[in-house]
Symmetry: C2
């Protein structure tokens, strides 16, 4: 993994344009100056440098994965990440959930007039560093500026293309009764880090977001011929939404054991303090894997070799292929239904 | 071209949820209900219906084109189109500018809390109709909701993938001295239609946006073996920005003749009234084509066979391959420099 230092000076003279102006989105000289400097130099690579309306790509043969996500996280910078790194990780991870090797990303900015130019540059640098780390290129983009009061600093959309090299069909319909349900690491850190950053809360020990790319974990599982049936990242709505989505789409019943779900002590304490259930808190670098039962242990060994996977665990089983339902067994041995959260726990978490 | 009527009733009970709530972006039950109904039923197709984090595609062999654009147009509905149809046309057209056949689109919504649900449904229906007309499928998407006052009703991002079947390298670097410069139709209607819609101006005769897909024009040019060197849609910044971008990227001097640029009489009058230059006004269904001079006439015949191409015209020539410059010759025979607009004429035109 290549890492690039965040030390490049902003190529646009900040004393001349300390803030983004409406004209930076107008299609004229100022917009071109912004694109050539901030985006052009920040993201520079041979495909982007062609400067055409669409990027031209050579993609290796195979099925392709294609995904998109907008990022509206507030605040823009939080412990363990920022909107830029998240916009790369999130879309890379969505591709990984199809078993794809991420290749190319687009980056589209909706900027509120008045955003400090230096903030934009920091975010672009963070995106570049994250993209380099993930081995993906940002090959096409767009910038729009909206009037003050009609946005919130910065929204980013990234779309991504990856190539699916595995012959496995990694999708909800491949989930079978008897499958082991694994999580790739400890849960709840991203949501609680944002919460702390936004509300100015300080928990006993600082909680850092789990935002990170997971595609190498997934590609390692596939390279080791683990019989992966389905993958789902546990983002908005947390583990509870991820499991319920799969149960619904696959038409299966899933049972998990509460005590087996890895949650850091400081996250658990912060959730208790705020009356939140860690199973419904958002993550940005964690996923659920449904694998054939005999492959559960070898899969966990692979996950645990990666940074974020130290706490990877088997948390339950797919129980039957009839009614879509998720249950969680408490420490006292009592099973209850684990529902999707009804509404909004933590707005603008991603 | 298939057209789908806008007559499907909204599948989400509007009396229960007349407006989009923050919880519709929260990852829980309300969000899933919104996605299953408005997006799921509105865009339904076999790839999207798999309901996975990323779409899995089979793409024919060839180079791929990949592009993205966000749409923040205000107002959402305007004479001749709306943000939904525009979000399809704009991205289809960006793909066409690489000579690609558009295949797959993503759709990502950033919704301001409080948007009438019916507005969202109208936009989704309009996107579906436009996608059907263009022969593309919306295969993956995302929905975020931001708090009231932190957005402006609705922003849309679409990214697109197309396949490049032509062996031509359609890009600025293929432009040569002597090339003919063509425009695909009359200019300036989109910008003036938005302006009228926004300011409540009523011009003598109503001006409708030129928003429309141009990929079939381009594919027809390529099928007829027209020697196309470069294509560029004349969106933000209008013809002036498109020509200057190409002059800069290709390192050429371009000369056009003002009287040869097709502009409808009502558009010209409205521009005069508002002190705008039609050459800098945005279009959403018009492009500039650089073709080998002997192919100019056959190319124009092909363009004129299409709806928006009735006024297609040769407007000038690439003059030399040295200093990047665009000049425009007036009716009196005097040449002046046609610069990119400096700043912002008409904010949020696209």
């Amino acid at each position: 993994m290549k890492r690039r230092r965040f030390e490049m000076a902003c190529p646009l003279p900040l004393q001349q344009y300390p803030h983004v102006l409406a004209a930076h989105g107008g299609g004229g000289k100022l917009m071109h100056q912004l694109l050539e400097t901030i985006c052009g130099e920040g993201f520079s690579n041979p495909i982007l440098d062609v400067r055409h309306d669409s990027a031209q790509l050579n993609v290796p043969p195979g099925r392709l994965a294609f995904t998109t996500d907008s990022y509206v996280v507030h605040p823009l910078f939080f412990p363990g990440g920022d909107i830029g790194s998240m916009a790369i990780h999130g879309t890379v991870n969505d591709l990984a959930m199809s078993g794809a090797r991420p290749l190319y990303l687009s980056a589209a900015f909706i900027i509120e007039e008045g955003l400090p130019m230096e903030t934009l540059w920091r975010v672009v640098q963070s995106m570049r560093a994250a993209a380099d780390q993930c081995g993906v290129q940002i090959v096409t983009g767009d910038t729009k500026v909206v009037d003050k009061g009609k946005g919130d600093g910065l929204f980013i959309n990234t779309a991504g293309i990856g190539v699916i090299e595995t012959p496995l069909m990694i999708a909800p319909r491949s989930v079978r009764a008897g499958d082991a349900v694994l999580v790739s690491g400890d849960l709840g850190r991203h949501g609680m880090a944002i919460m702390a950053g936004r509300e100015g809360l300080r928990f006993e020990s600082d909680i850092e977001s789990d935002s990170e790319p997971v595609h190498e974990m997934v590609l390692d599982l596939l390279a080791a011929k683990i019989d992966v049936h389905c993958l789902r990242d546990a983002t908005r709505g947390g583990l509870a939404s991820a499991l319920n989505e799969i149960a619904e789409a696959a038409g299966v019943r899933i049972g998990i054991v509460d005590a087996h779900v890895p949650v850091q002590e400081n996250v658990r304490a912060a959730c208790e303090m705020l009356g939140l259930n860690p199973l419904t808190v958002a993550n940005e670098g964690r996923f659920v894997a449904f694998v054939a039962q005999p492959d559960a242990e070898p899969a966990l060994k692979i996950l645990r070799r990666h940074g974020g996977g130290a706490a990877a665990a088997m948390i339950g089983r797919v129980e039957s292929a009839t009614e879509p339902l998720v249950t969680v067994k408490s420490a006292l041995g009592i099973s209850r239904i684990l529902d999707m959260p009804a509404g909004e726990q933590l707005p603008r978490i991603c």
